[in-house]
Amino acid sequence: MEGSYLPSGRTAGLPGRPSESTNLADILERVLDKGIVIAGDIQINLLDIELLTIKLRLLIASVDRAREMGINWWETDPSLQAMERDEDGDRDQLERENRELRERLERLEQRIGLERGSEEREGEPREEREGPPTPGHAQEREGPPTAGQAQDRERPPTPGQTEDREGPPTPGQPQDREESSRGG
């Protein structure tokens, strides 16, 4: 029983025997997001904590990846959705940027394809673009390239954004992060 505590081949320490090697991500996702929130006398605005978690999440490359793969349970989890709403600002912006970039890439691909396609009678490039092998799946990922998207395309490149960007960059940040990954 004792032995089965440790998942095979992982360095993760285990709760029950606290140790420095317990995965920091495991701990942070719990202590920052979970547990009962009681209003204490020190009123620390949870937004400040959430700001930090937003930052942590921004670095979670795998979230977008997972969503792409159609893994998105957390989006249907009401408790998580509540948090998502807090992050909407950042998330929306990122998603929009992401989508715009993808569209730009697609248009580039298309242009290249079309130039070539007009020369080539087989019409393969069109097939490549328009023949979704799994319609259901593609839909799940991004939604069909419909009116909604076209609308997005017309939108000027995120006006609200510049405001955010003007904030002074804080050189301390990368350093901090490094420190923490070292410090165990």
Binding site: P7, N23, L28, K34, G40, I44, A66, E68, I71
Partner: protein, 348 residues
């Protein structure tokens, strides 16, 4: 002429695409970093300003309700810069267990147990110089500080868990003094009792599923070789290029479907069987250090008597999906963070 053009296009296409892709990736990276920095700046900015410009009164981190400060900016308000002194009381969890673990809390002070009629809250003193509202706002965004405090909190909870069922509080639940913590306990008593009843005899376990992309794609290819081995021969260079791109995309999608099915299968099996389940987001590899792609990050509430079976079940799933390069990690028992009401109001 047409030939020339085609050859030219075929030659240029991969290069152009690669460049476009690289540019897109760069832009995304930059956007992510900037968004993160902007978030930090919003918090760190004012604190920074206060230090540099020695203009304390003008630089509250947020436009506070008491905005109208009569003093003009020039004469520095003397009390503003002084860090708060004295202690606050940090609360960890609520329990019915009798003895507090004989360990130190998040800042080295010993753990105390404040009891009222069989129900107790575990607390320890923390210096306000580090845990006042202003200080916390700063410190919480310092990952090194946060890690120490988070581990300290977790450490206490894990020890407390050995003594019996607990209701974990979120970090930074701090009271002015012991009386404040005791009052909270009394006010929320029935809610804590209910939560303790639900959690009694149950344990939180974490399961994470990661896969190796290459193994996944190899498996996808093996399952439908005909889809990915279409003849490249006899096509023009451009045609072959486009076909190859299409095949790559299809392979990626097939691998995605495999991954999705895999995660669903694992979660469905465990969920069916657990008392309760919560699915969380995949973790940041930079923090967790995991390799591959995390497909599932979930917590399950399990009857203590069924924990052994949980280990077997995970082992079975591990074997069943080993050919896909799936890694299943089981950790626990955790303090039941994932299975308590989230807010005070939800308690009542």
């Amino acid at each position: 002429m047409a030939d020339e053009l085609e050859r030219w296009a075929a030659q240029r296409a991969p290069d152009l695409l690669a460049r476009a892709e690289a540019a897109a990736v760069e832009e995304l990276k930059r956007a992510l970093v900037e968004a993160a920095l902007a978030g930090e700046a919003r918090v760190a900015g004012p604190a920074e300003g206060r230090r540099d410009e020695a203009r304390p009164a003008a630089t509250r981190p947020r436009p506070a309700p008491e905005e109208a400060r009569p003093a003009p900016a020039s004469p520095p308000a003397p009390e503003e810069a002084a860090p708060q002194t004295g202690d606050g009381v940090w609360a960890y969890c609520v329990t019915r267990a009798s003895d507090p673990p004989a360990i130190a809390g998040v800042h080295g002070a010993p753990l105390e147990r404040l009891e009222e009629d069989g129900l107790a809250v575990l607390v320890s003193r923390v210096p306000l110089s580090e845990f006042s509202e202003d200080a916390l706002r700063r410190n919480l965004n310092d990952l090194g500080w946060l890690e120490r405090v988070a581990r300290g909190h977790e450490n206490v909870l894990e020890h407390a868990l050995e003594g019996g069922t607990i209701v974990p509080l979120r970090i930074c639940t701090i009271f002015a003094d012991e009386d404040g913590a005791a009052r909270m306990l009394a006010e929320q008593r029935s809610a804590f009792e209910t939560a303790l009843d639900v959690l009694n005899g149950r344990e939180e376990w974490g399961v994470k599923l990661t896969v190796d992309r290459a193994a996944l794609e190899a498996a996808a290819r093996e399952r439908a070789p005909e889809a990915f081995d279409e003849e490249l021969e006899g096509r023009s260079a451009g045609g072959a290029y486009m076909l190859r791109r299409r095949q790559e995309r299809q392979l990626r999608e097939a691998a995605d479907r495999l991954a999705g099915g895999l995660a669903e299968d694992v979660h469905a099996r465990l969920q069916d069987w657990a008392t309760d389940a919560v699915v969380n987001r995949p973790q940041n590899p930079e923090l967790s250090g995991h390799e591959g792609e995390m497909l599932l990050n979930a917590a399950y509430l399990v009857e203590t008597g069924k924990v052994e079976r949980l280990h077997e079940l995970v082992e079975e799933l591990r074997e069943r999906h080993s050919e896909l390069g799936a890694q299943l990690e089981l950790t626990g028992p955790w303090p039941p963070y994932n299975f308590v009401p989230r807010t005070e109001s939800a308690l009542a």
